[in-house]
Amino acid sequence: MCLAIPMRITAIDGALATIVAEGLEQHASLALVPEAAVGDHVLVHAGYAITVLDAEEAEERMKLFAELGEFEAGQRDGLD
């Protein structure tokens, strides 16, 4: 349940951000991080960004996640 994925904000419309990681594009609410800006890396959990990440570290982690196929895991609804 704590699984949160690092993603990069490419667009913001009100409180809704378009976020991308390794070709995967989705939306997340910025209700918990109103200060986030386009270009920021955020940790995304259950459809919400929960914090802004340090950029360089985030890029490195995103590469790791992609290699591990964790993005698919993050999108899975859990064991079902």
């Binding site: 349940m1 609410s29 259950a46 929960i50 340090d54 999108q75 859990g78 064991l79 079902d80």
Partner: protein, 355 residues
Amino acid sequence: MTSARIPALISELRREARDGLVYMEVCGTHTMAISRAGLRQLLPAGITLVSGPGCPVCVTSTADLDRVVALARRPEVTLATFGDLVRVPSSRTTLAAERAAGADVRVVYSPLDAVNLAQAEPEREVVFAGIGFETTAPIVAAAVLESRARGVANFSVLSLHKTMPLPLRALLDLGETPISGFILPGHVSVVTGTACYEFLASEYAVGGVVAGFEPDDVLEALLMLVRQTAPTIEIGYRRAVRAEGNLVAQRLMATVFAPSDADWRGLGVIPGSGLALADEYRESATEERFTIEIEEPIEPKGCACGEVLRGVLDPADCALFGSRCTPGDPVGPCMVSSEGSCAARYRYRDVDGVV
């Protein structure tokens, strides 16, 4: 590549760790990460890793699971839930079995999906099963506010949310296992910050390090714990966690929720450790809309999840592990939850030192 640090971290741990160190992690994602990376096999013999009550699905009581089922059975209710709950055994059934029998159970990735669902299907009463700790509760709080802002009246939350610091106090008060230190939750701490853990050091002389989720993050946190000359609360996961936490998320949680008593599998009722919808938000509380009646809960026979959750029984030592209880045919929640200790040990048993 950060995994290049792993051999260096292991040899430093081997050099510096004494004997008899027991570190407890209290976050289901850490449980999985540790098993998946086979860290137990790499650590010096003096360090034992135990899992605590860090899986929100696993610590949900059977009675609460029965309440979720009772709601799902109502013909007017659409039960929206995180996928993790669907196959967890309650007294007599699972949500998956109920769905097969005709209940309207929908898996959602986000509570916001449940709000959108309610908006799209106004004839349904959408009940969101709110399970999770402080990473998830602010998100559910935001979704509640969103539902009210949009005038979506057919949405309510059954809050089974719980908060992390009090069960740690309960565990230490029980004193069943000597704990040398805690690997503190990574994403819960993104929200809470670290002040809520200070009592561990100041009252119990037990230190803690907030850790990230990659193998090198966990090893680094262990090294920080081993190196502590006095019990302290530190942040290892610096790229994501600040000492003050996420103030917006904290405020959301404190506005929409209020502390309540919560019943933890393995620990019993811990006063103030739960979150219930606050007075001004009671309209969005499922219990205000439906009288939820359940029969006497039946605990799964022979299930030792309670002891596993308190860290006094290693999953591999449970008599049912791998024989009567497997992820495909689970007896208790720890084997079926994606963050369960038993599921982690079973899934990665080849690398995790399970004979």
